[in-house]
Symmetry: C2
Subunit: 434 residues, 2 copies
């Protein structure tokens, strides 16, 4: 059968990973497909300096993406440049030229994915984006087809490998956040400007994409509450341990009475949860369905080869559909507006909470805090204090029974003026659902 | 767009689960597909006695599967009767009639899946079988499409929920195998004749299907080594615990120098492994790829609704392909003969082993056993003996460093004649790969 031809645009980590697989695994891919998947054009701003697989020796190379998109015979454009400017232009140009698109671009797809997919559908071309979320985990495939018959009611993800690496290093070695971050930067696991990762923005884009697919709703990343991991200390892991829990940055989307509740924030999860076994830079997604109940997916969150597998698997699927003559089979956002999933505010969240305080010790502190919580109808569950010798910066923890985020925030607000607090209290939800 | 019509044949657990989802989730399914998925015929030997969803009130019902397959307008036949006789006839009749097939039949597909898929391909119809393995986990979808770009090098699965339930009950409560089995039978978790589950036959069929898909090889279930869980005692969990391991029935398929190595057997796995967190009747699959590295999939192994999700998701995929005019997109066994994966014998397995003995105590036992192992070039790792007061039936454990199954078997063979052994030694591999 006739080959399907690909233009690879962007030869950074992901592009080089995909190129390596397309070259090294070409025979197997052709046998699986029944026809060859051919790289016809390679594009990077620094293409002349790239060491590419020898299999690509005769392949057209350019530093101008327009030439790659327009190259004769190209059926699928793989947009692997990232960002939202050039990437958007590349994708729109491909759509206009009637070429299918495979992208690894979480930021762009989270911001403008629904519109892009609509235009792709109108143009009768396919667009695939498995690599945009949780690199090596085929979670798009699972949500779009594998469990398509179910009605998803909740989804929880560890979606940022850098944060998970930092948190599990703090947990394992008791090292302070800043020291772990510095070491992660030294090792190349964290960016020199780490804020997109550690403040939750990256995980939020990924959650927006997954939730759109799982709940059939257009979701703006900005509408998702986010809180990063800068305030998590080794001490928090000690207290969590005492409660038989650990701490992870969890992106969550779930149906509640008020609508679809979305958040990215550090949370306590039970040590017995499978999710608690997700350490280092791995990613994971927990899905709950009305019919299929709980399923769980785990793998590498990033890295050239795992993300490359996602890109190449997408290329294979799109190529197969092109050869079958049905280019648009199912778009990532085709389920938009399944209904009943209006996004609601974080104040409707309801769970048990872990409240960690740092105070200048004196009598009556617990009584003061307890009475503020009681006034908001929040019931104390436990008060924990691990041994310490600092009376001037004394940490302790109060856990409370399930309460709404609104009432917790109101209580924390009232605590603001208390002069014995060394810093604002840290409030983390205790997730029982994973 | 025009509806796609389904005949549901078999209204046992799985059939009723699928029927419930097709009725209860019909609107959402139609919105996802862009057209309705309609149940046009319902068939069961006891169809008149079934309480079916009210949505199906006007639907044609019959106790004769031939009538259901032949019913006018039926596009897809869902074979949910199980077994290998009627099921085979139903599927072959559907293929002959040019109707696509969705099946949940692990036994039939393990035995004759490749031939059935070849005939389906020749007839230009689609066949899907997600529900045949690991009910609620979309592992077929993952292997066929989600990580299609990868080259899989190993796959490990907890594929039998009954065995996993029994093992984790022994682990949790220290109850003897026979008592847990009796309780499981009382609760309906185990069959009155439990041998297909507890002797590994059911898991072996599932492994044959998964390995065929993952490694592109036709695999006869009979060619797979199997060993059940009847000999696992609470004591084995105590010893495993001392080694910081637990015990699960693991179906494994992996590339070794000699070919593709397949086995279903109880194995020690590290407590820190995510796989060790799979308890009760859950199933899980661990996949290792050359490029994507490790991914892991977890969910309900059985149950009407989780398995029903697999059936309905398959129906949706096949329906979409029918509407797109490309009925045969990718068959479950389409990857047959990717090459390089000739099945090799279990004697080529290589791992550390746990050897548990029961002896009549007397001096020199360890020396005797150690010299037999040494003669086969097997190195002792540790000797463990938990406190006991039985000198006539004294258990202890020897762990050995990585050795081949062949050498272990030769050593066990030589131990056969030793008069101090109360029973043949129990040898379990220690799996480090999961």
């Amino acid at each position: 059968m006739q080959e399907v031809n690909v233009a690879l645009i962007g030869l950074g980590n992901v592009g080089m990973g995909a190129a390596g697989i397309l070259a090294g695994n070409a025979d197997r891919i052709a046998r699986k497909l029944g026809f060859p998947l051919r790289v016809k054009a390679l594009c990077s701003r620094t293409v002349s300096g790239k060491t590419l697989p020898p299999a690509f020796d005769g392949v057209f190379r350019t530093s101008d993406w327009r030439e790659a998109v327009a190259y004769p015979g190209v059926d699928i454009v793989a947009e692997l440049v990232g960002g939202t400017t050039d990437a958007a232009a590349i994708i729109e140009t491909a759509i206009s030229a009637g070429k299918s698109v495979v992208t690894a671009n979480k930021e762009l797809m989270a911001l403008r994915g629904a519109g892009i997919c609509d235009r792709a559908a109108a143009a009768g071309i396919n667009i695939a984006m498995e690599a945009s979320v949780a690199g090596g985990i085929p979670i798009h495939n699972v949500l779009r087809e594998g469990i398509a018959g179910d009605r998803i009611t909740a989804l929880f993800g560890i979606l940022n490998g850098t944060c998970n690496y930092i948190l599990t290093e703090i947990e394992k070695n008791g090292t302070a956040f800043g020291d772990v971050l510095a070491e992660a930067q030294r090792l190349g696991y964290a960016e020199q400007d780490p804020s997109a990762d550690i403040d939750g923005g990256d995980a939020r884009s990924k959650l927006a994409i997954l939730a759109a697919l799982a709940f059939g709703e257009q979701i703006s990343p900005e509408a998702i509450f986010k809180e990063g991991i800068r305030r998590i200390t080794p001490l928090d892991f000690d207290y969590a341990d005492r409660l038989n829990h650990t701490i992870r940055l969890i992106g969550s989307a779930r149906n509640v009475d008020e609508g679809l509740l979305l958040a990215v924030r550090p949370a306590l999860i039970p040590k017995t949860a499978i999710m608690a076994g997700v350490t280092g830079s791995y990613n994971a997604v927990w899905v709950r369905g009305e019919y299929g109940q709980d399923t769980f997916y785990y793998g590498r969150g990033a890295g050239p080869s795992p993300t490359g597998v996602a890109v190449v698997s997408d290329l294979m699927r799109v190529a197969r559909e092109i050869r079958a003559g049905s280019p648009l089979r199912v778009s990532p956002f085709a389920h938009a507006h399944l209904g009943g999933n209006r996004v609601c505010g974080i104040e409707h969240a309801r769970s048990a909470y872990y409240l960690r305080f740092r105070v200048t010790d004196r009598p009556g502190i617990i009584a003061t805090l307890a009475s503020i919580l009681a006034a908001k109808n929040i019931s104390l569950d436990a008060v924990l204090q691990l041994p310490t010798d600092s009376k001037q910066n004394l940490p302790f923890v109060i856990t409370v029974e399930p309460a709404t985020e609104r009432s917790i925030r109101q209580a924390l607000d009232e605590m603001k003026g208390l002069d014995f607090l060394v810093e604002p209290p840290l409030a983390l939800p205790i997730e029982k659902g994973v």
